[in-house]
Amino acid sequence: MVMLATLFALGEQTGHEVAQLSDGGVLAQWAWLIPVVPLVLMFAIVFFGKRLPMKGWELAEGAMLFVAVYGVALFAMNANEGINYEGSIEIARIGSFTLEWGWVVDGLSIMMYAVVGVVGLAVFTYAKGYMKGDIRYTWFFAAFTMFAGAMLVLVSAPNLIQLIVGWELVGLASYLLIGHYWEDHANNAAATKAFLVNKIADVGLFVGVIIIGVTVGSFRFTDILNAVADGDSALAQVAFWGGLALFIGAMGKSAQFPFHVWLPDAMAGPTPVSSLMHAATMVTAGVYLVGRMFPLYQTDGFAIDVKAIMIVVGALTLFLTGLIALVQDDIKKVLAYSTLSQLGYMTVAMGAGAYTAGLFHLFTHAFFKGLLFLAAGSVIHAVHSNNMSDMGGLRKFMPWTYRTFLIGSLALAGIFPLAGFWSKDEILASLSFDSSHDGGTLAMVVLVVAIAGAFITAFYMARAVYLTFFGEYKGHGHPHESPRVMTYPLIGLGVLSIVAGFANIPGVFTGFTQWLAARPQVMGDHHAEAINFALAGIGLAVALLGIAAGTRLWKRDAATQQARDTFRIPVLYPVLANKYYIDDLYMKGVVGPIKGPIARFTNWTNTYVIDSVVNAFGAVSVFLSRIVYQGMDQRGIDLAINAVGSATGEAGDALRYTTSGKIQEYAAALFAGAVLLVVGFLILT
């Protein structure tokens, strides 16, 4: 309790207010509990989980309930008055550099707290039903709690160092969770792949952090963004490379092309993991980082050129991965590729300078993508297969799963008035705005790509819905609706997927824009002042067109079902089914050489170069020790010791004859001694 009070007091000292924004009061000062509670409970689950009546689930659920309640409370408070608070405690001091643990409570982080808490609560509740009977049930919830806790560490970070800590913890937790079913080697490979691809991109993050941190002389976001606001010329010189390196890190976590390859493989984990990973934690981290550093990218003279790279990467991701989703049979992979596509939208929005639009899409996407994954998990739970070719006709067996999946799909496709419509429209509007400002032709092209992406989104979601829920059931056994512990979270997220979009309706209710703007720096955000009816109409029309096309192609009826399922477009299909051969390229171009020639060369170097150096040292040591042994030890030291020994021995030999064993001789010697003493005494006195 004393420690808590100390933390509290320190937070109070170092926190600072910003004009016009509230400091959040006690609620913000105690917000450090948000990341700490899940992490502490994680350890509690590890150590005591198995002894608890619900095997540790209750602790995990408690952690998420806490975060959800706290996050929503902060969210409501932020909506009311706008909070900006930053507390920190010093952990270590190295020279002039102080290492701090802190917690940021501002519009952006509050939004993330609420999303992680609410989606996490739904997913954790659901996971109780989904993971029932799993042999590593307790361990799963420990790692899962750590996953959420790590994301909260990342989100609450007031400096880049703590962000890296959270960033890497998220990576670690994702590794553990993707490889949860490690008995199957493929799952291990997927976990390793996710970890390594993220690690490669993390090099970019580290380089960016070092460039920016060293130039500014501080790792704190506030200091860096203030330097941007002040037009720091040293930072301006390196801003492009620093910003680009940070964005490469973000590309890894947010799975942007060409780092997207880990995300579909991450489907090897349990479905709740996929759900949380794709909705609230992990993949949103990259977008969050760009959002956190937004003024760096948006201010003239700084990393503004990175935006062009961002928008291109985002457009490539959203379009290419959307197409792959069309040919996947695994329902989770369809959703995974759709996540990639939606992350592409967020990146595009960031690249178009639309801070609010990108994060608003993150916000709404978290709900409907979390929902879609949970519903897909519910289906998988019932059918015992991931493949849509084993499903079909589940509408009748699983009414609630069907309804919620349909809501999620419509929201994702961007159908009015569900959540996805508003956020996607916001992105299209910001692209249109950008094309008439600094984005130019590029933004115009990307706008077209984004509209095409909207068509593809609607198309593959229609496919997923029809293949899963319509037609005839083609699997084995009798599927049945999931237990209530699984359907209630679906319904909850379904409601949120419907209403979340109303948080930001340009010109009518701009709450979300203001909530996110609760930060000390000016974002320079491009956001629409009113609904662009033309674009919204185009977006909606394209989505409806996609659904219509999907319906035409995949609405199964008994006669044509078989023929349509086996139909393949000649050239396009193999390319898409092989994911543009990117995995093969990585395998042959990167992994192959490393495992082949480079590994052999390293092995050769190790055996012949390093080992020979080590052996030479060893030989020299042996030679030297032989000299020491034979010269000094044997001849010098031993000689002296032997001399002492033999002298003692010979003296003993000579003296042993005096011990005759005859008592009277001893007595005579005794008396002689006594007489000698007396005589000596007399002479001396």
Binding site: R656, T659, G661, K662, I663, Q664, A667, A668, F671
Partner: protein, 101 residues
């Protein structure tokens, strides 16, 4: 008071005792000779005690202690001799060279 005659007597007894201890071969006689030496010492103690007119009679008391200890010593000594005699059928000290190296 003259103590010379007592001292001469004590010296004679002590010397005879030493002679007996060193020369006699029979262990019983060696023990007897030790008693003679102790007697000489006791005479010295009593004589000097009387000579210096000690109020606490320390010399006389000390002689009594010596007699007591001597009695105990002879008791143990004779017991050892008896045991050795039983084992070896002899009490000749020349044969008792067990302490030899």
């Amino acid at each position: 008071m003259i103590v010379n005659q007592f001292l001469v007597l004590a010296a004679l007894l002590f010397s005879i005792g030493i002679y007996g201890v060193l020369v006699r071969r029979n262990a019983v006689l060696v023990l007897l000779s030790i008693e003679l030496m102790l007697t000489g010492v006791n005479i010295n103690l009593v004589a000097f005690g009387q000579y210096i007119q000690d109020a606490f009679l320390a010399g006389q008391v000390f002689a009594l202690f010596v007699i007591t200890v001597a009695a105990a010593e002879v008791g143990i000594g004779l017991a050892i001799v008896v045991l050795i005699f039983r084992n070896r059928a002899s009490a000749n000290v020349d044969e008792l060279d067990l302490l030899k190296w």
